[in-house]
Symmetry: C2
Subunit: 339 residues, 2 copies
């Protein structure tokens, strides 16, 4: 029996699989681009191909899976938004058949990122934390009483659908005025374009894609579903804001304030100590975090709420694997539904 | 050793104490008006006088206390908003000294009402529930994973300070646009007056105070701090709305929509099955619940969120005592901080 845990991270951009030590270190990992338009078995073969290349030792302790939502939970029949080939695909069951006799556990990818930050990242020791990811989408996971909160159907943590402006823009969920509708990269960029902004007009560099640029996709902190098409424009927007473009600045302020208001609602409702923010857009720094902090403090005036801190997520591109592994390795805190 | 638990419910309008059976039945209770302007010892003597009249049998199993917030928790040094005589008063410690050797436990009154509904009321069996009270204030408590959520400092459940309109009216908490600023009885009435409404102009009865009237204070479902001055006007407003007054109707619609938006945010964030709504204003029926349901459904469009049900609280005037007793009797679910 090995003491390694197999971790799997399934996203719209890439699949990853890794072996994780009991202390959370990823000791081997394989990655593969998500096949565009792949059907159910093509996607499955992409995953099994990864696992074959990874060559897990006999007798891994368990399998932890993070996957883009929605899914039935804890059954793990997945229908990831950006992977049309999997609709109700029994991912947990298929992996359990391949790895019999050991725990095989699954959760939403954004929840796995929150778990990773709590277990081994910026949230260590927090009793009441929200772990967020802000990029092409806005998602998260809740840790309360030092334990992962699943909610009634495993969907707790959807901070992206806290309403920040009831008369606001339509959201992909079918509602309107959700945080995600305003603060997701593409939403942010679309608003700026509607105000008259065009990419690069402030003289910011024309080449997108440097990992150090704000809003860039390769941050490794976002769930894969949060790093899809559309962030390149948001990255240009952040660069133009940094160069002083007034519309780009207004767009970042608008997104930052929306984040601050939604976080304030979560803090007041859940009495949070800490919020970690990862994902590509979180790299915009003060352009986003300045207005965020200002709105947050305006809307958290009760004594208990004032203590909350908002900090950047600490883990890098392996965060998804670390969080998935934690479902097995630290199941006492992060896995409640039984074996 | 008796199997009865002593329950204490401390509010701005009245103090109550009762003896509660292991199944949640209140078998004896005493009540006393909260002394206006009383200093710390006057308030304490009011409570001990109640306890003397109640004559708890020797060897009660424990003492459960619900008290208006804020308080330090779990230490239980209370500073109830509407009781200036108690500022940092060590209520838990004083009762522990009077009842040595048994558990003495305390929580916010709104949280006790949520616990009561989950334990013995409309929320029985729910894994993920918000118990709300809507009257002079708007408060609540969260039950997730079948257990009371305390948050980092015992303040989880403050649904009244979820932001529903970031540019909205100022709130007593120091912020603005909170649910409570819009939907609390006095806020509702003040808005209607500003729109040109005056009480009774629609020909509704001039005599306030019937317990069956919507918005009335003696509903027994609200925490005491939620039944203070100001609800008489809200009760008239509801009566005028029922009589067809357009401003009064608009006011009820505005409050109902604010409730629906805040509840939607909580449902999306916490993946709730159920929301119970008590307190005087909840008796306004469809005038409030109609717009509430409409706004809630508009803002809960993800699959998991659509299942949530919003129902009236089921327990009557003893709810506060029942919830306080549950901190002791069902401490495995409702009391986490140790003995």
């Amino acid at each position: 029996m090995s003491d390694l845990t197999l971790a799997v991270d399934i996203g719209g951009t890439k699949f990853a699989a890794g072996l994780v030590e009991p202390d959370g270190r990823v000791v081997a990992a394989q990655r593969s681009a998500t096949p565009r338009g792949g059907d159910a078995e093509t996607l499955w073969k992409t995953l099994t191909g990864l696992l074959d290349r990874l060559e897990p030792p006999p007798g891994v302790a368990g399998v932890g899976i993070g996957c883009g939502g929605p899914m039935t939970w804890p059954a793990g029949e997945v229908s990831p938004l950006n992977m049309g080939g999997w609709r109700g695909f029994p991912l947990r069951e298929r992996l359990a058949a391949r790895f019999p006799g050991i725990p095989v556990r699954i959760h939403n990818d954004a929840i796995c990122l929150a778990v990773a930050e709590h277990w081994r990242g910026a949230g260590r020791g927090s009793a009441a934390m929200l772990g967020m990811v802000v990029s092409t989408g806005v998602g998260g996971g809740l840790i309360l009483g030092g334990r992962l909160i699943d909610g009634g159907t495993g969907n707790a943590g959807h901070i992206g659908h806290v309403v920040v402006d009831p008369g606001g823009p339509p959201c992909g969920c079918g509602g309107n005025g959700c945080l995600e509708a305003i603060a997701r990269g593409p939403g942010l960029a679309a608003w700026a374009v509607a105000q008259g902004w065009s990419p690069g007009r402030a003289g910011s560099p024309q080449e997108p894609g440097r990992a150090s640029e704000p809003g860039g996709e390769p941050s490794g902190q976002g769930g894969e579903l949060y790093r899809e098409e559309g962030t390149a424009t948001a990255r240009r927007l952040a660069a133009d804001a940094a160069a002083g473009d007034p519309i780009a600045l207004a767009a970042m302020t608008r997104a930052g304030r929306a984040l601050g208001v939604a976080i304030a609602s979560a803090v007041n409702l859940c009495d949070l100590d800490l919020v970690t923010v990862g994902g590509g857009l979180s790299q915009a720094g003060d352009l986003l975090f300045g207005p965020l902090e200002k709105a947050l403090r305006e809307h958290t005036r009760m004594g208990f709420a004032g203590r909350v801190r908002v900090v950047p997520a600490a883990l890098g591109q392996d965060a998804g694997l670390v969080g998935a592994a934690a479902l097995v390795i630290a199941g006492d805190r992060y896995w409640s539904p039984g074996p």
